[in-house]
């Protein structure tokens, strides 16, 4: 009851001085809100990445000319490497025994036209057979590209649902002729919708057979080759095989660095973790500063409150309140105060995350640990910064306090 009374007093104070309380709690609110928002974003991203990036590309690694470039020097060195060709792809297909799939791929951007409708900035993919597994696409209507299309360098394509929608509207897409760049292609399939990823539509593409791609757009130039290992455990073996084959084809001596690049989802994950780690560090900084400021403001307001209520403290002591009763009362008050700031912050940060998640492609998920973290943080602020004022209150001499006007 003493506890309930103290909480009641604190909440009453918050309600009685709404503006003052809001200003008092601003630091705590901002601190908690920023942590909640960022944790929610990162949490959402994490979920997203694990789901999409990893599952789609499970056990997949890519051999290409550049590999994973993180600096200009690396790029300048990589440009000089020989191109990865379709012959390389064939060699890998023939030689990597631990791979279940070897898909040559290339890509660019193009413009589509159907009658008077045009569509710009559409991803143009050249893909070898097995692309449906590696790209994780399924067919909604029609069919996938086949080995036959590839060998015959057929002018056929599979389009994403967004493309179908925009070019044909309600009309059936299959069998229609569209212009891809300047060439006439026939639509043989439309894929199932995949939605957005990092703000990029995954349904706005046109996929053509890889040799067709080579014929029309890329007589020279480098391809990349996606390899899917048989299972998780054989992935390193498959990578090693691929490396050996590629090195042999480039006549590389032992000790010489690879004249090609191999990237797998682990590489991307490492980058991703570095990025989100950075975000976390910045957030912790912002949160720490605002919580510090917020805590000092709470301490200040509690000191004012202790002074304002000196007489009350005297009365309580005269009626038999011990030091720890007074200490508890003021600690509970400061904690209630900061906790209400924390709860507002959680709602604000969570709301922000959800709103941004709803209107933008950035995913967000308000997680239970994030909420608990917010509650814990604000409680700690209340207890830590409330203890000095509470201690001062508890130490007041009852006679002096009663005399205070």
């Amino acid at each position: 009851m003493n506890l309930r009374e103290s909480i009641g007093i604190a909440l009453g104070g918050v309600r009685a001085n709404k503006l003052r309380s809001f200003l008092t709690l601003l630091g705590t609110i901002i601190g908690v809100a920023s942590v909640i928002a960022v944790v929610s974003f990162v949490e959402g991203l994490n979920r997203f990445v694990t789901q999409k990036l990893l599952n789609a590309g499970a056990n997949v690694f890519v051999v290409d000319k550049y590999g994973f470039i993180t600096s200009r020097e690396q790029y300048e060195e990589a440009v000089k490497r020989p191109d990865v060709t379709l012959e390389d792809a064939k060699a890998l297909r023939d030689g990597v025994s631990h791979a279940s799939l070897v898909v040559a791929q290339a890509g660019g951007s193009t413009q589509l036209r159907y009658r008077n409708r045009t569509m710009k900035g559409v991803s143009l993919n050249g893909r070898g057979a097995g692309y449906d597994v590696v790209d994780d696409v399924a067919i909604e209507e029609g069919r996938h590209l086949s080995e036959f299309d590839d060998v015959g360098r057929g002018a056929v394509c599979v389009i994403g649902p967004e493309v179908a929608e925009e070019l044909f509207g309600k009309l059936p897409a299959l069998g229609r002729g569209i212009r891809v760049g300047v060439y006439e292609f026939q639509v043989v399939g439309v894929t199932k919708a995949k939605g957005k990823m990092f703000g990029q539509s995954q349904d706005r593409f046109v996929t053509v057979p890889i040799r067709t791609f080579q014929k029309y757009w890329q007589e020279r130039g480098s391809f990349s080759v996606a390899l899917k290992s048989v299972d998780q455990s054989s992935m390193p073996l498959a990578e090693q095989e691929a490396r050996n084959i590629m090195r042999a084809r480039r006549h590389q001596r032992p000790g010489q660095p690879d004249q090609f690049g191999i990237t797998n989802s682990e590489t991307w994950l490492t980058l991703y973790r570095t990025l989100t780690g950075g975000i976390f560090v910045v957030t912790i900084g912002v949160a720490a500063i605002s919580l510090l400021v917020g805590g000092i403001v709470i301490m200040n307001i509690m000191l004012v409150s202790v002074t304002e209520r000196t007489k009350e403290i005297g009365v309580r002591k005269a009626l038999g309140a011990r030091r720890r009763d007074i200490l508890t009362q003021f600690l509970v008050e400061s904690t209630t105060l900061s906790l209400s700031g924390g709860i507002i912050g959680i709602m604000l940060g969570g709301g922000l995350a959800l709103v941004v998640g709803a209107v933008s492609p950035l995913p967000a998920a308000l997680s239970v640990p994030a909420v608990l973290l917010g509650i814990l943080m604000s409680t700690c602020v209340g207890v830590f910064f409330g203890s000095y004022p509470a201690f001062r209150a508890a130490r007041l001499d009852p006679i002096e306090a009663l005399r205070y006007e």
Binding site: M1, G12, K311, A318, L319, G320, R322, D325, P398, L402
Partner: protein, 240 residues
């Protein structure tokens, strides 16, 4: 013997000067006495009251309350004694502004660690005793001065203390309401309580059955009041 004070000294350090607020006080008070402690300001009566109320401890000498030596007690022990043995009534009522009458009266029981239901019941009884059964949910600012002081009296009584210690209880009231409050003390005393009034007003002190006069930190005189003034509640007054 309820209160036994022997050679009590209380000195304060003001700058390099030593102020002797109490300078050798001997005083015995029995159960169910009605005592007024009188004296001009600076006589030491406030210091004596603070020590009697266990808000302060003597610099030297002994104060025994119900055979317990107060002078050697820790802060928390003093708080417990105040809670259980002392009922304070102040000049300025000292009610918590944000709490209603019932809650104000409950407060000593909160610190006594009493359970909620029992506490409520006791506080209601105590308020009914001072005639405020119909004002329990009123906040102090919704009550008249006389009613506030009666809430304070109910609060002082609620823990069934050994001593009711009233410090200028009528100082902030008009004479009519003051008489009403004095009638309340009369009743409390008749119920078997020990009442100690601290005042500088002679006509208030006249209500007590024994008058102790203080001067310069010592007891100047201590005698039975031969003609106590009996305050009677005139009814109606103070309940506006």
């Amino acid at each position: 013997m309820l209160i036994q004070i022997r050679d009590l000294h209380r000195t304060y350090q003001v700058g390099d000067q030593e102020v002797r607020a109490l300078d050798g006080v001997d005083l015995d008070i029995e159960q169910n006495e009605y005592v007024a402690v009188m004296g001009p300001s600076g006589s030491g009566k406030s210091t004596l009251m603070n020590i009697l109320g266990c808000l302060d401890t003597p610099s030297r000498g002994s104060y025994r309350l119900k055979d317990q030596e107060i002078g050697k007690m820790s802060d928390d022990e003093l708080a417990r004694i105040r809670n259980q043995e002392i009922g304070f009534v102040f000049q300025t009522f000292n009610l918590l502004a944000r709490a209603d009458a019932l809650h104000n009266v409950e407060l000593p029981l909160v610190y006594a660690g009493m359970k909620h239901e029992e506490r409520r019941q006791r506080a209601r009884e105590s308020l009914a005793l001072v005639g405020l059964a119909d004002r329990m949910k009123h906040k102090p600012n919704e009550l008249s001065g006389g009613q506030r002081q009666r809430v304070a009296i109910a609060r002082a009584l609620v823990n069934r203390p050994s001593i009711i210690l009233a410090d200028e209880p009528t100082g902030n009231l008009d004479s009519h309401t003051g008489a009403e409050i004095m009638a309340a003390f009369e009743g409390i005393w008749k119920h078997g309580n020990t009442v100690i009034l601290v005042t500088h007003e002679a006509d208030i002190a006249e209500h007590a059955r024994r008058v102790v006069r203080m001067k310069d930190g010592r007891i100047e005189s201590d005698h039975v009041n031969p003609h106590p003034r009996i305050a009677v509640a005139t009814g109606g007054g103070g309940s506006e």
